[in-house]
């Protein structure tokens, strides 16, 4: 308890209760992921958590400071794993987590002080370093085949409701956390219900994405998919619910958050449309992490910090 008090005193952006709730729910998603795919997923999660905590511990100890273990240390590794394809080699998990936690979080001063979202940084790093293993090596949940692209570009995709239900129930390949769409919805709803995350951000992102895709799809029919389909492409849902809502890296004021959501959505849509890259949203979040605070007055550094 004392640890948490230390944290809270130092860090107004960090709400331990919310972080703990998020962490628990993310683990639920991980377990679901292991049911959809294989228990190897749990091993990935475990390895990521251990590496993440190890990095934090070593970092803090080298600076001769007390280490306050908290749910925040579990948050990032879980997110990273949930964004990965289900059979990623363990060493990649470790490298990604170490990079994300060290350069995305600890360097800037630890929990609550980071500018860029550490899971997104880890994801970007892994995408660039191991493009095939991380970006093109998904598994079809039904028959275990290796699938290269998770783009739902078929315009008649939602022709039948059966296909839609298949999507919800996790029959279409995607990253570990995003496959079982129904699960993402439920967990997201729980988080929103518990007020652990701000609903405005995911809502803004999804609305803007649908609108932008529909409008741009009118002008460039080949490049953009249907507005509704776009909502379910790749990691958009997952990221808008669990990553973009991170209170440390998102702006504080409502107005700025809305701009944040709009920005993420627009950048994602543009990158997806012009470059046909499903990693658009990763770039979008990182860019908006940096730029988002532009929309709100400079936050006052409190005394004693």
């Amino acid at each position: 308890m004392q640890n948490q008090n230390i944290l809270k005193a130092q860090n107004p952006r960090v709400n331990i209760k919310n972080i703990t709730i998020s962490t628990i729910l993310l683990s639920v998603l991980l377990v679901i992921g292991s049911l959809v795919y294989t228990p190897y997923v749990l091993l990935m999660g475990l390895v990521a958590i251990v590496s993440g905590v190890a990095v934090e511990y070593v970092f803090v100890k080298v600076r001769k400071q007390p280490y306050a273990f908290n749910a925040g240390a579990l948050d990032t590794p879980l997110l990273i794993v949930l964004l990965m394809p289900p059979q990623l080699p363990l060493y990649m998990v470790i490298v990604g987590t170490v990079f994300g936690v060290f350069f995305g979080k600890m360097i800037f001063g630890g929990l609550g002080r980071n500018i860029f979202h550490p899971a997104m940084m880890a994801y970007l790093f892994l995408l660039v370093t191991f493009p095939i293993a991380v970006g093109a090596n998904f598994i079809d949940p039904i028959n275990g085949n290796i699938v290269e692209s998770i783009n739902l570009t078929d315009a008649t995709f939602f022709g039948t409701s059966e296909q839609f239900f298949n999507l919800l129930l996790g029959r279409y390949p995607n990253s570990i956390g995003s496959t079982f769409v129904l699960g993402v919805w439920v967990v997201g709803a729980v988080l929103l219900f518990l007020r652990a995350v701000d609903w405005k951000i995911p809502l803004t992102i999804l609305l803007t994405t649908a609108l932008a895709t529909a409008i741009l799809g009118n002008y460039y029919p080949g490049q953009f998919s249907d507005g509704f389909v776009a909502l379910f492409q790749g990691q958009l849902l997952f990221i808008s619910l669990f990553v973009a809502t991170d209170p440390v890296t998102a702006p504080r004021t409502t107005k700025a958050r809305i701009y944040y959501g709009i920005g993420i959505a627009l950048i994602t849509v543009i990158i997806r449309g012009l470059a046909n890259a499903s990693e658009g949203i990763v770039y979008a979040v990182i860019i908006m992490n940096a730029v988002g605070p532009m929309f709100e007055p400079v936050e006052q550094i409190e005394k004693g910090e």
Partner: protein, 200 residues
């Protein structure tokens, strides 16, 4: 070199893909990076904004007319390109001196403290490096001016974002050995990753 075939591509190339800081590593002047206020930074960039196009123009003209000469058959008649470095440096010094002199005369209250910059802007690698990059990427005089303007814009763009991000950090919690330039380099590394991916 910065490659482009039309003005749109030039802007994308100079600002994103081949950004002068993020791809060419130029302009990482230690003094500039310590500066905390946006206004001071932008003042220095303003000086570069005037100096660079002028220097590029003059250097380009000199390069085309004096250093290289290709006759009607396409053969190189005169090749004095080894004078390039000295010539460019001399041009830059002169332009710098004149511009700074003019600026401190007419806008003395704003540019007073830039008098010492004569030693500051010149050794900074950006002006010399940019002039060389620009003159080897363009084929007409107009292009040299345009490209230099866009390059400065790209430089200012990255610099301002860097300062913006830095201002959000609380330096006290950052490990001491990382404070200052190392942290800025890390932020730059992330920006480099993003900008280069953007170009694709």
């Amino acid at each position: 070199m910065i490659e482009f075939s039309n003005i749109f591509e030039m802007i994308i190339a100079a600002v994103f893909v081949s950004n002068i800081i993020l791809s060419f590593y130029l302009g990482i002047d230690h003094q500039l990076f310590i500066e905390k206020k946006h206004t001071m930074i932008n003042k220095r960039v303003l000086v570069i904004l005037i100096v660079l196009p002028l220097s590029s123009m003059i250097s380009f003209v000199i390069q085309q007319s004096l250093l290289i000469e290709i006759d009607a058959l396409g053969e190189i008649v005169r090749d004095l390109t080894y004078f390039r470095t000295i010539t460019f440096i001399v041009v830059i010094i002169l332009v710098n001196y004149i511009i700074l002199g003019l600026l401190s005369k007419f806008f003395s209250n704003q540019f007073k403290n830039l008098q010492n910059d004569f030693k500051g802007v010149l050794p900074s690698t950006i002006v010399l490096g940019s002039v060389i990059v620009i003159t080897s990427s363009v084929t007409t005089l107009l292009e040299s001016v345009l490209l230099s303007l866009v390059v400065v814009f790209g430089y200012a763009f990255v610099l301002n974002i860097l300062k913006f991000i830095e201002n959000q950090l609380e330096m006290k919690v950052v490990p001491k050995s990382f404070q200052g330039l190392p942290l800025q380099l890390i932020i730059l590394s992330i920006m480099a990753l993003i900008f280069s991916g953007f170009g694709g």
